[in-house]
Symmetry: C2
Subunit: 133 residues, 2 copies
Amino acid sequence: MESLRPDMFDELCPSTLNPIRFAGDKWAPLVIRCLEDGPRRYSELRVPLHRVTPKVLTQSLRSLERDGFVRRTEYAVPVRRVVYELTPLGHSMLEPMRVACEWAADHWDELLDARELSLANPTDRYTRHHGNG
Amino acid sequence: MESLRPDMFDELCPSTLNPIRFAGDKWAPLVIRCLEDGPRRYSELRVPLHRVTPKVLTQSLRSLERDGFVRRTEYAVPVRRVVYELTPLGHSMLEPMRVACEWAADHWDELLDARELSLANPTDRYTRHHGNG
DNA sequence: AGAGGTGGTTACCGATCGGATACTCACTAC
DNA sequence: GTAGTGAGTATCCGATCGGTAACCACCTCT
């Protein structure tokens, strides 16, 4: 299993633009993708998710744990070590996520074009009554 | 094309529990499903979405329009009539939404069980140090 | 002229979300 | 006994979200 690259998510569009969201909060889908290939330590997750503060990452992990997508295991020896891994339920999310990613790959540009277009021509819908019509 | 029933969404779980979210805001996926079978008027949408206030519904529709999922068409005669319909891009969302709904149908109970279980046994993770051990 | 319908808008409000910054506790290695 | 590491917490803050309540412009029908 390869280690997670720091630029794993650098190419992604900001998630506020994301038209499809899974499992709770903003970062949860990215966390799930990090765990796709096997268990990871907290500090490992922080590498690709370097823009997420520890508080927020913990929140996200706790929420995923509560929902049964992720299992948290703590080892105390020889040094403190906490690993997170997908449960079967978590794995089952990968399929719909894959479909959604495929959708995004196919249609992302259309969406962005629509946004730019609507920014360029704001619909001036209810200002008609200012005229003398 | 059948008219939309008022109880169309009554059986749905509150959307805060929804592990999969599409296209922007809270109500957007429901709006898309309302438009699945063809164009609908604003007042038609308000029937199944009777728990959504006009402000919020309008916001949702505007956002879907900006993103190119929905087309808004206004007719002034003989009475004011505004219809909303899915664009091809909007239609293309139905497929990933279907997959996500299938996922939910198959795994919803697991998720709810996990939640109840974690509510019943809150993980008392960092209170160990209160003891004498 | 007034009632009613259609498709909204505006102002306000509380809750939640995500982020910034700083701090902590347990443990190990030196 | 001090420094470092791993895995977080604590506190504060601003922005956004969703909701309530009230209002509005336009049209048609009677």
